[in-house]
């Protein structure tokens, strides 16, 4: 039996778009109210509020950290509020904190929420933030590196070692966008899915990364209501039960990140999380992977042993991870498909995990979705968190 004792019983989300007229508080109202209504609870049943810290948005980050949300939304039963920041791993930690609050009696029902409004951040501030966050200011930044270049360094070596081709790497974008085009919350909803040739014809940013293999920033937000597994079961509503959680730390500085240790961390955390859940990889209905860049997907597919060594790229090129393929994979299309909302892509991925297990994913619904593997990582990849979620508690 899993040692985890929580479940997501309500979700709310707004479409990822660039809409500066939609304020951060607009999004917070909409997502939190939708999540509470979806849970079947009353607003005053919410006893804890945990915010994923918005990146590069100091005003809203301070407002959320200093407790404005319960007051703004009139959550009269709220006992405590806090913000959590571990970059893209923030939501994983917010959920862990919710679990601690719930199991120790601090709160019976907790909202975990995220909001990001990139479109109102001045371009200069965006550049200043993303040029330096997660990049060492003494040993990396002065050489002129960027997040795209960090990805290029990894992808070039992976391609060298594994034999993945440019065509295979380009096909990941096609696969992710095939899901995104069917996701009403994606910035690419109902947009044409770019062909492999189109991806390969886009401008080279830095080897081997092309323009269509990088991310578009967007505004977005989502929220989840979390209660104890026991309460979720009593409520007899669709829920996503947490069954497994395992993590490894690699390094804060990109250049110190041992490539073999990272691969091992991806592999081991998945196995440990599955062992906690009492399942094997054959039981997983959906691999809901969040690795931000498409070029990292063949790598994680091989680490998770979904694809054999050296075959990760070919699996994508064969369309096996695309909508309609035989391996349901990143059904919001990860950041390249959803639009990059800073620390919010992993939050959106958790909401999608819950949505799939609740049977609410519409056209993207994975048939008989019973167990979901979901990972998250923070910064430029300082860690790896693997989790398993189930339709029912084991």
């Amino acid at each position: 039996m899993s040692k985890h004792e929580i479940a997501i019983i309500g979700i709310g989300e707004v479409p990822t778009r660039n809409m500066p007229e939609r304020t951060q508080w607009d999004i917070i109202y909409d997502t939190c109210m939708e999540a509470v209504r979806d849970s079947g609870l009353h607003k005053n049943d919410i006893e804890g509020v945990i915010s994923v810290t918005p990146q590069a948005q100091p005003t809203i980050a301070a407002e959320l950290s200093f407790g404005k949300l319960p007051e703004e939304l009139g959550l009269k039963g709220c006992k405590d509020a806090v913000s959590v920041n571990a970059g893209g791993a923030s939501t994983s930690n917010a959920i862990r904190l919710a679990e601690e609050w719930i199991t120790t009696g601090v709160a019976k029902a907790v909202i975990v929420q995220h909001v990001t409004l990139h479109s109102t951040i001045p371009l200069i501030d965006q550049i200043n933030f993303f040029a330096k966050a997660g990049i060492d200011l003494q040993w990396e930044y002065p050489f002129g590196t960027t997040y795209n270049i960090i990805m290029g360094l990894m992808a070039n070596r992976w391609m060298h070692d594994s034999g993945w081709t440019e065509k295979q790497m380009a096909s990941v974008v096609t696969a992710l966008r095939s899901w995104a085009s069917r996701d009403p919350n994606s910035i690419f909803y109902q947009k044409d899915v770019p062909s492999v040739e189109k991806v390969m014809a886009s401008d080279l940013l830095n080897t081997p990364l092309r323009k269509r293999q990088s991310n578009i920033l967007g505004d977005g937000g989502c929220a989840m209501v979390i209660v104890s597994a026991k309460d979720a079961k009593k409520m007899k509503r669709p829920a996503a039960y947490k069954l497994g959680d395992s993590a490894r730390y690699f390094s804060g500085t990109c250049v110190l990140r041992d490539f073999k240790k990272v691969a091992e961390g991806f592999r081991v955390t998945a196995k440990e999380a599955m062992a906690q859940a009492g399942i094997t990889k054959k039981d997983v209905s959906l691999w809901n992977c969040y690795v931000a860049y498409p070029m990292a997907h063949p790598f994680i597919a091989e680490c998770l042993e979904v694809a054999p060594p050296g075959q990760g790229g070919q699996y994508f090129l064969d369309g096996r991870m695309s909508f309609g393929g035989d391996i349901p994979w990143s059904t919001i299309g990860d950041a390249p498909g959803r639009g990059h909302t800073g620390s919010g892509v992993s939050a959106a991925t958790y909401v999608e995990t819950a949505r799939q297990l609740m049977g609410k994913a519409g056209e993207r619904q994975v048939k008989n979705c019973k167990y979901v593997y979901q990972n998250a990582a923070g910064g430029s990849g300082f860690n790896q968190i693997s989790t398993i979620w189930g339709k029912e508690i084991k």
Partner: protein, 138 residues
Amino acid sequence: MEFDMTKPIPETQPWSEKFWEGTKQGKLFIQVCKDCESKIFYPRKFCPECWSGNLDWIEASGKAKIFTFSTAYSMVEPKFMDELPYTIAYVDLDEGIRMMTRIVDCKPEDISFDMKVEAVFHERNGYFLPYFRPVVKK
């Protein structure tokens, strides 16, 4: 809209000053722990292996091999645009440590994995950044 076009210099710590003093003299220093004999990069206040404060420096050969690289053609910070294209690499020093650097003095298309390179020092506002160039066969 005006961007800050000042090229960044390393944001140093007191315990890394010796490294940057070395590069001014054309030397690549590596921090070592005198107690557990670890070679330490980047330099720390205490040894990250054994927490000893008994630290010293050795001069590295400046020879390395390219572990991986990526050549930038666009989408870098405005302050680096005038240097495009440029190649960022991770290089493995003969002494067993890995650094981020720039590969210079060759065409991007001539750069390859495991290529042997050597340190050269590039001045920026009083700091000398360790770049690497292909080893010239004599």
